[in-house]
Symmetry: C2
Subunit: 459 residues, 2 copies
């Protein structure tokens, strides 16, 4: 049984210590992330063009590379108070289990019913849609965390919420679907008969179980073909990282309050929404020459966009209707294997995170899922929280680093993002518990197929 030490076991900021503005790391970046391009003309997307698909104020945030702080509207601050601050927890029990001199902290974003950090951006995007006088929003969801968060936010604001859920997930994760329905969202299995692109795909590929790319294309079509609707996205975009900076800002405020200095900061990376938000204020310090950290983005070995991808313009969706983004990508034609961390199965990566990685400000590493679940189970047993598979990628690397400290005797301070809970991932845990989980690493040939789908764009 672990004894408690001086600093509170869980650090909760007081209401007056919570961030009042999001931090826009692009303002401090010398090399800005490359602009989104029009998929037809390959010219930078204008605010007007983006405004057809996205809400107006979100377009402004997407394009703003200069303002370091953007005030959080009072209504969003009020909503944040419903579930924030999230705790920064000292992993005493994990440290004791590992017998490491390292000090391990995790920022736990799972303490809201949506179960993950996705709510931080969902409420912001829903708020701006409401403010613009829209009737509703459309989106896609795969693993379901984003769809759940958006459903919650829309229920709160009285907005219609239309979710296109990848058909295989719709069928295999009926409980995720029911959470969204309980929050009042309509959930349509994708591909569906409700859109042109869906009907086309159903004719070309009868019996297909869908893909995230197809669901994005359907959601975009649904948004642009209905009066008073816009499309929203839970990751990749600059605006999402901006909203998610609340994670990093709270983490930094809590650490500063108690004089804790991080040596290593670790986040799991799918589209980059979590890791981008967690690290933003710390990277900002590095960019301004005020501090130095080791920052590690962790991705699944089965979908290694940072560690094995190309830094190139690519489509954000397989339907190729969305703008092109310059990012580390495996190609929109890359088909990720059935890794159980659905939130990390994305061919690309946030352009901001990609640029930071390209400029050497952050590291990246990849890990295999069986080992991830082994560590997740160990973590659950000693820390009590059942982590989401996505989050567990960060735990795995935090544990590895803590074990290195055990060898060297160094008392490093390790901080990682625990993005959410695994309540809806018990099928994956079951596979692990039964010993039937397998690992998959794409071959160079697999990757070559994905790279062949990259568009030809002159930088």
């Amino acid at each position: 049984m672990a004894a408690m030490k001086e600093i509170p076991y869980k650090i909760y900021l007081e209401e007056h210590e919570m961030p009042k503005a999001w931090y826009n790391v692009r303002a401090d970046m010398k090399n800005k992330p490359a602009p989104l391009l029009n998929p037809a003309t390959h010219q930078p997307m204008t605010a007007e063009e983006l405004g057809v698909v996205f809400c107006k104020e979100l377009v402004d945030q997407e394009l703003d590379n200069t303002n370091p702080y953007i005030a959080i509207p009072q209504e969003i601050l009020d909503f944040y108070k419903m579930y924030r601050p999230s705790p920064l927890v000292r992993a005493y029990c994990l440290e004791e289990k590992l017998q490491t001199p390292a000090k391990i902290y995790y920022k736990f974003e799972g303490n809201n019913t949506s179960g993950s950090h996705k709510l931080n951006s969902a409420i912001a995007q829903a708020y701006y849609a409401k403010k613009q006088g829209l009737k509703g929003v459309t989106t896609e969801t795969g693993a379901g965390q984003w769809g759940t968060a958006l459903s919650m936010a829309c229920a709160y604001l009285g907005l219609d919420c239309q979710v296109y859920m990848v058909k295989v997930s719709y069928e295999q994760k009926p409980f995720r679907r029911e959470v969204m329905r309980t929050y009042g969202a309509s959930v349509t299995p994708s591909p569906s008969e409700t859109t042109n692109v869906g009907r086309k795909i159903l004719i070309e590929h009868p019996g297909t179980s869908g893909s995230l790319g197809c669901a994005i294309s359907e959601a975009v079509e649904a948004a642009t073909s209905q009066e008073g609707y816009r499309y929203v996205l839970g990751s990749v975009l600059n605006q999402v990282l901006l909203h998610q900076s609340v994670i990093g800002l709270e983490t930094k405020a809590a650490m500063d309050k108690y004089g804790i200095k991080a040596d290593i900061i670790i986040g799991c990376a799918g589209g980059g929404s979590n890791v981008g938000g967690l690290i933003s204020p710390f990277v900002g310090e590095m960019l301004r020459g005020e501090a130095d950290y080791r920052i590690i983005a962790v991705e699944p070995a089965s979908c290694p966009s940072l560690t094995r991808g190309k830094f190139s313009y690519d489509y954000c969706d397989t339907g190729m209707v969305c703008p092109l983004a310059k990012m580390y990508t495996l190609g929109s034609g890359f088909i990720p294997s059935a890794n159980h961390a659905g939130g990390l199965r994305y061919h690309g990566m946030s352009p901001t995170v990609s640029q930071l990685y390209h400029d050497g400000l952050i590291e990246a590493t990849s890990v295999e899922q069986t080992e991830v679940f082994r560590v997740a189970q160990e973590f659950a047993r000693v820390e009590g929280i059942l982590p989401a598979p996505e989050s567990s990628h960060a735990i795995k690397v935090a544990v590895d680093e803590a074990l290195k400290c055990k060898e060297t005797g160094e008392e490093k301070t390790i901080v990682f993002g625990l993005t959410g809970t695994g309540y809806f991932d018990m099928y994956a845990y079951q596979k692990f518990n039964d010993g039937t989980m397998t690992d998959y690493i794409p071959t160079d040939e697999d990757l070559a197929k994905g790279f062949a789908s990259l568009p030809q764009v002159e930088d």
Copy 2:
């Protein structure tokens, strides 16, 4: 969008404000709950007899009707710090939705991975088992909240945990099962071939899907037939209410801190673990003549032990191997319908809660599940928390009382216990979302069959 008022939206006690002792309401009761009786002799169970089945210190707590405060051991306080204090939340959004002048607060016990208040007693019982030098504990679980909490507590302390899970739940709730396995528990569908009573039942009733009563009997046999094991139970017993008093103590401390005075206190009631713990310190004030409250225990109309049961000695299990308890009961032979609030499907009620009800200190009411789910959905949409079906019984009555205030214009302060989250109850929500949920109220004839199973005991 609701504006925030003066008192914090969520009241979290500081670490130094958290209770250091449990409150034993029996010490202040003039009419003590009747003693447990030996099922063979009908004589009060001695500590020695109880010690065969239960841990020694827990037996002492079970029999202690005199000490008002029992110190919480430091190791349990340390564990409580991992997930306590739980927040006392002002339901501003619900109030606004209802347009009521009532002030509604809820004590939210779902912010730990076990997902419910059950952890408060699970860690205590596991701690005393560990302290006694035992190898492990056995228990039964139906809905799965208790089994999950006990698995977590045992994982933390390195104790073996053997759970007998009602077979129908084992098969219909595979994810609950997997959570327990992830925490390292062994989970056996009951009835099983691992016990005499299980084998006997399988021969007599081939193909049976089991019952809570059968699972209890198997768990008790497993505990008494293995060296170094004891049986633990998640509700009904006095010791459980003692541990759960931490809910009420925190609630009262938070209210006192901000000068909030409750008018009505509401809890859902199955075996009584939650409502008994929540109300204890408030009932204590009433018993000592220091304050007056309206206290309401809410049960499902399908299993109405308080509102339609008899105050009588009865078996705690259908296998009739456990001690007899004097309580409000429908008879151990009563077969509850398939209500989706599995945690409230118990034929009896805590002897302490029963005595308080019998003495007129608390009220009881029953509600039907379709209406409960309607209110649960409404609550989820505005407050963001997806409530467990059990907890939603309390929400329903809190809403009813708030609507009465709307009619009368009274600004009553209503406090209810939100015992847990509904992540593992999405099948029930799906039935509600699909409009296929039904209600069931037992007829007087149904009840008569249950009462026929009551043992003949002279008081």
